[in-house]
Symmetry: C2
Subunit: 505 residues, 2 copies
């Protein structure tokens, strides 16, 4: 596409694109050519455990290779994995594998060009200034956590200024911090500055103090100058892959940056967006947060990835995969089951197809993507391509801004986890947490109900106990945490444990 080259620079083995500049250019030059790409959401079954992926990235890569092989200009947008998690060895590489691989996965897995580190440093600078504000008596408690690129259980609760002020703090991993959320949702550096100014630094005598009251924003925006530029790499077959943003899907947004997707849609006909963990996590967040509340593009199709063993092996959990597929279809999003076969599972193909028929799915796409890559998919994509081609561009969806927070959470529990409001339980302390959050917002000049809800829960469970029969499943609401800068409110759900600071396994 003409124009984009002026915004693209070589950065070692990847390229980086000034997306803010490019979108500005498109806005100022309405006659400049651009595409109007359709978004395909790649999501998955709820995993059996957080560390065992279904193969979404491998699927995404194979899918764009297959589409490009069929002459369709398709690109993918992935999140950047956490270097600290890769280095601590908790999860291994996150960038596909086998025939469905990126050209330089080691770059993607090991910090790319320092984007996340810059985001961590930016939030840490804010906290340093908050600590100085404590010294000066401007605030007495700090609400924004420090950020570490590397995990450690010991950092969950720390005390700084030991022996003097003894200020309680906690440290979170970069993919879980509010600064990452701000980078994910902002469409300009100016917006980033405004959101940072709106972040609540802490309280003074219980009253919130925003960073805008005492931070010079140039300190932050300069640190992020390169971090806000999406990286562009490619698959072994040359299909374009954009990598930008890295919020986790269990405790944060679970999606790549909105600006990278928007930019990709101006450059390609099909843009595959990979959302993290299961459809109850990243996909729910793309739809209900990014699309409804931040102007992101509603998907024209969806692919729900599962492994044969995940889907069928635990009868008590086998309700989850059909639930996800059906939910997306109910949104009028053509939804394609994709079963990622592991070694030795080829003989299960007929059996799986039969189950799909029973479940009244669209015909599933099946393949050993690690072994066969995009070639396994290309012959099976007629239905997929047809659905994409015919998908309407302007679907109906509405913002939920302004709705009472608890009502909003109940709506998510029903629509995304299948639990009706009469089985929503409130843990002791939830109401106090909610009241405190509402008060904090009010004092900060924000309405709690205007914030988008970020469901925080373990990736491996949708309800308090997914193995229970449907009529016994519950969702417990535990606590509320406001991220006024990002414009979201975190609600911790279910009795499962999940934390913004993993331990080294």
């Amino acid at each position: 596409m003409t124009g984009i080259e002026e915004f693209t620079s070589q950065y070692g083995l990847v390229r980086k694109i000034d997306a803010f500049g490019y979108l500005d250019y498109l806005k100022s030059n309405p006659d400049a050519p651009r595409k109007h790409g359709k978004v395909v959401l790649v999501t998955a079954d709820t995993p059996l455990k957080a560390s065992r992926g279904e193969g979404k990235t491998t699927t995404t890569i194979a899918l764009i290779d297959a589409l490009n092989a069929r002459g369709i200009d398709a690109a993918a947008v992935l999140r950047q994995p956490s270097m600290g998690i890769t280095a601590a060895g908790s999860k291994g590489g996150a960038s596909g594998g086998g025939k469905a691989s990126l050209t330089h996965p080691e770059l993607i897995d090991w910090g790319l060009t320092g984007e996340m580190a810059a985001i961590a440093a930016a939030q840490n600078l804010l906290v340093s200034f908050a600590e100085k504000a404590v010294d000066e008596g401007r605030i007495d408690t700090i609400l924004v956590p420090r950020v570490s690129e590397v995990p450690s259980r010991s950092l969950r609760q720390i005390t700084v200024d030991s022996g003097k002020n003894n200020v309680a703090e906690r440290v979170v991993l970069t993919p879980t911090c509010e600064m990452m959320q701000i980078v994910v949702v902002s469409r300009s550096m100016e917006e980033i500055g405004e959101r940072v100014a709106a972040m609540i630094a802490g309280t003074k005598d219980g009253k919130p103090v925003a960073f805008g009251e005492f931070i010079d924003l140039w300190r932050i925006t300069n640190m992020l100058a390169d971090a806000v530029k999406p990286a562009l790499t490619e698959t072994l077959n040359g299909s374009p892959v954009y990598v930008h943003g890295g919020p986790f899907a269990n405790v944060s947004l679970g999606i790549p940056t909105l600006v990278s997707v928007q930019m990709a849609c101006a450059l390609h006909d099909v843009v595959i967006v990979e959302a993290g963990y299961g459809a109850d996590a990243g996909a729910q967040k793309w739809l209900d947060i990014a699309c409804r509340e931040y102007g992101a593009q509603w998907p024209s199709a969806a692919v729900v990835v599962t492994r044969a063993s995940t889907w069928r092996d635990d009868p008590a959990l086998s309700w989850r995969y059909p639930f996800h597929v059906q939910r997306l279809e109910n949104y009028d999003i053509p939804t394609f089951p994709l079963i990622n076969l592991w070694e030795g599972e080829d003989d299960q193909i007929e059996g799986l197809k039969a189950v799909a028929v029973e479940q009244r799915f669209r015909e599933p796409i099946l393949g050993n993507l690690f072994r066969d890559g995009g070639e396994a998919l290309a012959p099976q994509l007629d239905g997929f391509i047809e659905a994409l081609t015919n998908a309407p561009m302007a679907p109906q969806f509405h913002s939920r801004k302004g709705m009472d927070l608890v009502e909003n959470v109940k709506w998510i529990a029903k629509s995304a986890y299948g639990v009706p409001e009469d089985r929503i339980l409130l843990k002791d302390g939830f109401i106090d947490s909610l009241t405190a959050a509402r008060e904090l917002c009010r004092e900060a000049g924000v309405s709690l109900d205007d914030l988008a809800v970020v469901a925080v829960k373990s990736p491996a469970t949708m309800t308090d106990d997914d193995t229970k029969p449907e009529e016994e499943r519950t969702v417990t609401l535990k606590k509320v945490e406001v991220h006024a800068g990002a414009g979201v409110v975190h609600v911790n759900l279910t009795t499962s444990l999940t934390t913004p600071m993993p331990k080294i396994v």
Copy 2:
């Protein structure tokens, strides 16, 4: 030079060079063409205060512009400034100014391509594994500090795992950490791995435990893959400038990486190396640590920068500048005084030249470098160029490895600060600190006396009180800290305060 292009990649507005690979290539191909550049050390008078620079970087830039204008292939090697210090606004930009500027100072000042962040993350990963080792009972105290890219007084003493193990830790700024030292002195990734393995993680029942006993080194070396590559940028006049490594000169080595200087010497005829703070700091460390102990190249000439006001305005301190000039001349290093004139000081030129004659200096080079850049210097460089051309390539200098630590410190105090051994004072606690360090080393299989001494002291003072008459000046030895991985031992000197974690000013 042929060959270097294969090791060079574009990284946005700078280039990065695989220096390890290039030096390997030169070693394996003895017939491959290379230059044998001479090193010029740019240093300065001891500053009146740490935050007020003499203009070394401006001088370095103007000098290479002037040399290149006279047909000499000259390059500079600078340290990377701390992004956290730039962002916290304590010191402002560090990359020259006015006519003596780099093309993209904002990149250099604001994190370059994430090198320091990767170094910080690498040491933090080690500490995370050390904290896990505490959980597992493998060690009970942690000796390696955490690292922050951003300053904060509150981080000097912290407690992690609050409410449980309550482990005391401290946080240091990236330019002061041992991992930075390891990157500065290592000539290969293999050496980096060996040094990391030798870092003392902590103690168990008082006995040291090295990281090599429980860390997989690939975790660290992968994180540093890009950080070990020097960046290449240029002045506004196109003179090449390499930027790599960023240890502070008051509490660490104060010099750029040895591999970047070695590489530059293979590519250029003159390599200007800028060492931090005054000649008693960075220059002393280039000579006595880098050259004597780590195989770096002894300077063929030196330039000692001062401001007119620094040199003459405080009569009690005016002994320092001549002391530095004379000391370097006594090493047979042709030493050129360079007086950096500020606005309105042009009328002082004759007076300054007269003082130089009194002091029996070589004829000083004078100029307003901010205003006039390299053009101010070019006509004054005849003596400098002649000295460089005629300088012998193989000067006499010796390692001091194996000498008793206290004898070594006394030698530094005499040679670099002018204080003889009978005026070296030992603070209460120094002997205990020394004994503990010697014991720690012994148990770790290392001799304390084999470690290179890193003098740790405020940048603005050479002795306990520089305003005292010569026969009253003392140097107090305060404590000892071993960095077994980097192969150095820190000795805190003088009654001045200095810290590896600055506060936000």
